[in-house]
């Protein structure tokens, strides 16, 4: 846990000094100093919303810092634009790669600066030769004339990295680079990173996977609530130490706890579970999933990014086509693979991405509320008109009930704030009187007050006898709300436990499970 003391050294490729940033009254970053040396991998850890991406946007020049300055290779770049910083050699490798799939590796590497032959023709031969030379310099396994679309994801990532380096990048920011890779490909990426370090390139490595971070990085920094902890020396720290540093101390919960008394419906009195899942699997992501939820029970689903939590939620809701296994809701079997069957059985899903998956932004609040059960609002059978008065009553009920702030039923959904939008998505499913409510990151991107409202709503819903499956990356929220927590890693449920753990313990456990599953899987691949 010893801090590796570093004064601003002449060897630093980039030095961000005393950076602070506020959005309105909301202070996102305070007094952060962060350095990367040439040939160093500096890992950056932190919860969703802790401020990692804000810091990186300030580094790239997408945001201006309020205070402090940024030195790049000794030059003050604080006032420079994003374009100018890229020209100086700061590059970001995005999760969604920006390569052209239908063109060759060489064409991707030399786009906008193709070597020309006589008559303004693109000199393909020189281009392929130069590209191959570049590939060999970093000892990557790539063929310069291969079509990028035919390559595996890790190789596309290499193309992206090479493109940045060939344009003179000296610092690479990698944001969750392993999130789309298979275990095998991860090894390739780690080797790539080793080669880059030898070439004197500085790397900022952002990841949720502490095991990778400990193995790869030379130094580790943690952002928590807008402040920087560290840098730490990975050889003198452990997953447990880092987990403790990322967690809030106990008793320091920022949100007031339950005001609604939980009136639980014990499973024995009803007989059937609200949800019973046996041997659920998908062809790519999930395997061997079996669990059940009782009416009125809140079951939390914990796991790292990419562990398959959202996929499980979507599989239960019938939106994935290739699901096998048995699902029954309130004792009735539901064949997977159809949203309408799932809805008819009483399953509701509040999806993770409310703008893309939850709302039709250009339509009115009222219309969004009525969408999952339009047929119920038809007067006089399937050919009848819509019962507008009943839809209006539905709107008034949920506006008052969930305290939705809006101008009226006809306001467009996209004009509302994040928290109010989420309440609309919530309300549209509550109106259906579900038996199972699946919540995927229900409080992401909403403000503190809306967060409190949402938590209260989840408790109230469960109190009415609805089974809740809660997917959340905020461990504090999972521990606060759930009666029981299931841990997922590599597409399996690896552990079930009561909510007796504290946040630090749970965080360390998730990391350990992910590392364990990875090694099990890697042995399987090697065999």
């Amino acid at each position: 846990m010893a801090e590796a003391k570093t004064s601003p050294s002449q060897n630093a490729i980039v030095a961000m000094q005393r950076i602070s940033k506020s959005f309105g009254a909301n202070r996102v970053l305070s007094d952060i100093s962060f350095e990367v040396m040439a040939g160093e991998t500096h890992a950056l850890l932190g919860e969703n919303g802790a401020g990692k991406s804000t810091l990186m946007k300030i580094l790239m020049g997408a945001y201006r810092t309020d205070e402090g300055r940024i030195l790049f290779a000794g030059e003050d770049v604080t006032a420079l634009s994003l374009r100018e910083r890229i020209d100086r050699g700061i590059a970001m490798i995005f999760q969604e790669l920006s390569v052209l799939p239908n063109r060759s590796v060489a064409e991707n590497l030399f786009i906008l600066r193709e070597p020309l032959a006589f008559g303004m023709r693109v000199d393909t031969r020189t281009m392929v030769r130069d590209a191959q030379a570049l590939i060999e310099r970093y000892a990557f396994s790539l063929d310069a004339s291969a079509r990028v679309g035919d390559l595996a994801f890790a190789q596309r990532q290499m193309v992206e990295i090479l493109k940045a380096i060939s344009r003179g990048a000296k610092l690479l920011v990698m944001d969750e680079p392993t999130s789309s890779l298979t275990i095998h490909e991860e090894e390739t990426l780690f080797r790539t990173i080793g080669q880059l370090k030898q070439g004197g390139i500085g790397i900022v490595y952002i990841s949720h996977r502490m095991a990778d971070v400990l193995r790869l990085s030379d130094r580790i920094s943690i952002i928590k609530d807008g402040r920087l902890v560290g840098p730490l020396d990975p050889s003198k720290t452990s997953i447990e130490d880092i987990a403790a540093m990322m967690s809030r101390p106990r008793g320091d919960a920022p949100l007031p706890t339950a005001t609604v008394p939980a009136k639980r419906h014990p499973a024995t009195s009803i007989g059937a579970s609200a949800l019973e899942v046996r041997d659920l699997a998908t062809s790519r992501k999930l395997s061997d999933i079996s669990f059940s939820i009782d009416p009125g029970e809140i079951v939390g689903l914990a796991g790292l990014v990419g562990s398959g939590r959202s996929t499980l939620g979507k599989a239960l809701f019938g939106i994935l086509p290739d699901v096998s296994g048995h699902i029954s809701v309130a004792g009735e079997p539901v064949r997977p693979g159809s949203v309408s069957r799932a809805i008819a059985a009483g399953v509701a899903l509040v999806p993770e991405d409310r703008r893309l998956e939850g709302l039709v932004g250009g339509r009115s609040i009222e219309e969004n509320l009525a969408l999952p059960r339009l047929s119920d609002f038809s007067l006089a059978g399937p050919l009848g008109p819509m019962a507008k008065a009943r839809i209006a009553a539905l709107f008034r009920q949920y506006r008052d009930d969930l305290n939705i702030l809006c101008r009226g039923p006809l306001q467009k959904a996209q004009e509302l704030s994040g928290g109010n939008q989420q309440k609309i998505v919530f309300a549209k499913w509550l109106a259906m009187k579900p038996k199972l409510l699946i919540l995927d990151e229900p409080t992401s991107g909403v403000d503190v007050n809306a967060k409190r409202d949402m938590r209260e709503l989840v408790r109230r819903t469960a109190g009415d006898g609805v089974a809740v499956l809660l997917i959340s990356s905020e461990l504090e929220e999972l521990l606060d709300l759930s009666d029981r927590i299931l841990v997922m890693a590599q597409g399996r449920i690896t552990r079930s436990m009561g909510s007796a753990h504290d946040e630090t313990g749970l965080r360390a456990l998730l990391q350990a499970e992910a590392a364990r599953q990875t090694s099990v899987h890697a042995q399987g691949v090697a065999a």
Partner: protein, 315 residues
């Protein structure tokens, strides 16, 4: 006082902006009324409505497809094909009403096939319906070896074009009936809400349990059916099934829908807007004709005004 007048003005501005095509429409009509001889008369109005009935009917079906975020380029050739089939059925002494129902069913089926190809095989609707356009204009020509088939059945002619009821001619009645049915379907029934949701955000619609594929297939079927109705009206007007009657109509139909405020990207639009768009195009053509401009210059002016109207109507 001042604080209440500001929102009033703002909402008036909003109204003006949202209905800019209607403003342009009124301005151009006013221009013709003032400068074109004898333009403001009942006979002019009914002539314009009769001329535009065919485009209006097709535009009503097309509105469903475009709000879904798709396009149907095949409507012109489906109209030609339907006219031919109708004329051939009448030639075989099939009663007019039976022939009409058969043709409408055929049109709906053609549309449904396009819809299935678009949704199940995931081929862009632009390509599917471009292919359908070619197939059905070719079929319309092939059936009789390019010869027109004349229609002598008076029931048929009266029903679709020459008849009148309560002092209004058949094509105007068809426009009114189709507008009412389309309005009910799109703005009153649950199906309409599903159409808007599908075009507005297909992912969220699927996550809400809407069967977006079915919604789109039905929209294409509606468009195919209105196209075949238009084909029957065209055949009745010229008292013959002619294989090239509907050629090129798809462009006027799409222009009418877009002028009427429907977004080409889906999610927004209205039936009445599309009908107004069709009438707008009709008035423009008729007014320029009355002003004595040649048809070739008419096309140029018409095209320019359509572009201006749509660009002002952008969302």
């Amino acid at each position: 006082m001042k604080s209440s007048s500001m929102p009033m003005r703002a909402s008036a501005m909003n109204f003006f902006r949202d209905h800019i095509t209607y403003v342009i429409f009124l301005a151009i009509t006013l221009y013709f009324v003032l400068f074109a001889p004898h333009f403001a008369s009942v006979s002019t109005a009914s002539a314009v409505l009769r001329i535009t009935a065919i485009v209006s009917v097709m535009a009503i079906g097309m509105t469903f497809v475009i709000i879904c975020g798709e396009i149907d380029l095949s409507v012109g050739s489906v109209a030609s094909f339907s006219g031919m089939i109708g004329a051939l059925l009448l030639d075989q002494s099939v009663p007019a009403y039976v022939a009409a129902l058969l043709v409408l069913g055929a049109g709906a089926s053609i549309g449904a096939v396009s819809g299935v190809l678009v949704t199940k095989l995931r081929i862009p609707s632009f390509l599917v319906t471009l292919g359908m356009l070619s197939i059905f204009s070719g079929l319309a020509l092939t059936i009789t070896g390019t010869r027109p088939v004349s229609i002598v059945d008076d029931d048929f002619s009266n029903l679709f074009w020459n008849g009148s009821f309560l002092g209004m001619q058949a094509p105007i009645w068809w426009t009114i009936v189709l507008t009412a049915v389309g309005y009910y379907l799109l703005h009153q029934m649950p199906y309409g809400r599903r159409v808007y949701a599908t075009g507005g955000n297909a992912v969220a619609a699927r996550f809400s349990g809407v069967r977006t594929d079915g919604v789109k297939i039905f929209a294409f079927a509606i468009s195919g059916m209105t196209a075949s109705l238009a084909g029957l009206m065209l055949a009745a007007r010229s008292t013959a099934g002619n294989p090239s009657l509907g050629a090129g109509l798809e462009l006027d139909v799409i222009a009418a829908v877009i002028i009427g405020g429907t977004s080409l990207f889906g999610g927004y639009g209205s039936i009445v807007g599309s009908v107004v768009g069709a009438i707008f195009i009709g008035i423009l053509g008729f007014g320029l004709l009355v002003l004595g401009l040649s048809t070739s210059i008419q096309e140029v002016i018409k095209g320019a005004i359509i572009i201006i109207a749509v660009s002002l109507n952008r969302r």
